[in-house]
């Protein structure tokens, strides 16, 4: 029997290779439904102040059960290492999670990661026992440094966060995948299902999608499309594709032709 193809991050096994973000939905119930349809086992969540003046506001945990779906706390909105560390320490305190997504941004317009602050934070967090999945640029050298600093997963961008531009640098992603033992998850920039297929066909271990689902005209249908795209891309990758040829090769034998 063939071994089951689990997605393994920090020694934890997951069935789905699609990680879904929980931001930008119209409301919590839309978000919860889209996640269910996507089949994701992991969702990213952000840490923010409790609204102390309006306690009627619904809580994420009331819609998405953290016992059934793994919460991956992130550091969205952090532009330096200190803020990112503070956020993740608080996140761990909320629920005891140590699996986290580190994201230290450097520019408010293009939302590219600040590599120096990201590297610094990764070192500290790994020493504190966090399992750090690190959002980074599609830079193979930085990816290697992050791995050497104790990262648990490398999460290179396909294109700027929320841009929907799709994979811009296939070669870099391939090199990052080839050189590391860690899971590589394409994070940010996916726009449509074919982008997710492409990421998986490059050999990446997973894909993280938020805006492409949340802001699609029909988020539920897009959640389903992404679910199958990731499965399809993974199977295609594992199947061992044919060698591309410049010239044609007939599908039907010529022998016996009339």
């Amino acid at each position: 029997m063939k071994k089951k193809d689990y997605f393994i991050v920090a020694d934890k096994k997951f069935k789905s290779r699609l990680i879904v973000g929980t931001g930008k939905y119209k409301n919590m119930s839309e978000c919860a439904k889209a996640i269910k349809i996507s089949g994701a086992d992991i969702v990213t969540v952000a840490v923010r102040r409790v609204n102390i003046s309006d306690k009627s506001k619904p809580l994420l945990m009331d819609y998405i059960n953290p016992k059934k779906i793994t919460y991956l706390p992130n550091t969205a909105g952090c532009f330096n290492s200190d803020d990112a560390l503070r956020t993740l320490r608080l996140a761990r305190e909320i629920g005891g999670w140590s699996l986290v997504k580190l994201e230290v941004l450097g520019d408010k317009k293009n939302l590219f990661p600040d590599s120096i602050e990201t590297l610094k934070s990764t070192e500290v967090l790994a020493k504190e026992g966090f399992k750090v999945m690190v959002y980074c640029n599609d830079d193979p050298l930085m990816a290697k440094r992050l791995e050497n600093s104790g990262a648990s997963a490398i999460m290179p961008l396909a294109a700027p966060i929320g841009s929907g531009l799709g994979i811009q640098n296939k070669i870099n992603l391939k090199i990052i995948r080839k050189q590391t033992k860690l899971p590589v998850i394409v994070d940010a920039g996916i726009g449509q299902a074919s982008d997710a297929v492409e990421a998986m066909e490059l050999g990446c271990d997973g894909v993280l999608i938020n805006t492409a689902i949340a802001k699609a005209k029909n988020p539920f249908q897009m959640a389903e499309a992404m679910k199958y795209a990731v499965i399809s891309g993974r199977k295609s990758f594992l199947s061992g594709r044919i060698k591309p040829n410049l010239m044609g090769s007939a599908s039907t034998t010529g022998s016996g032709i009339i």
């Binding site: 973000g21 929980t22 931001g23 930008k24 939905y25 919590m28 978000c31 990213t44 969540v45 952000a46 840490v47 923010r48 102040r49 409790v50 102390i52 003046s53 306690k55 809580l59 994420l60 945990m61 919460y71 706390p73 992130n74 969205a76 503070r86 320490r89 608080l90 996140a91 305190e93 909320i94 629920g95 966060i161 929320g162 993280l208 938020n210 805006t211």
Partner: protein, 72 residues
């Protein structure tokens, strides 16, 4: 008239006036905050949620209470 028994603290960026020596636990209960879904920071130090009763609030204390919201 200024009440000497009152203190001012900042909670999630908002100033609140309270009685002196109020345990943090009382304040959290008063605000009906579900403790299992939040983390609390007092003057930038994370607070052990089991020891909230032992923490008596002082003037100019800064409290942050955070939880998870939707994010990418």
């Amino acid at each position: 008239m200024k009440n000497k028994n009152k203190i001012k603290i900042t909670m999630n960026g908002k100033q609140i006036s309270l009685n002196q020596n109020l345990p943090l636990k009382k304040l959290v209960e008063r605000l009906k905050i579900p403790l299992n879904k939040v983390a609390i920071e007092l003057n930038k130090e994370i607070v052990n949620k089991k020891k909230l009763n032992q923490i008596l609030l002082k003037n100019k204390d800064k409290i942050e209470i955070v939880h998870f919201i939707g994010g990418g």
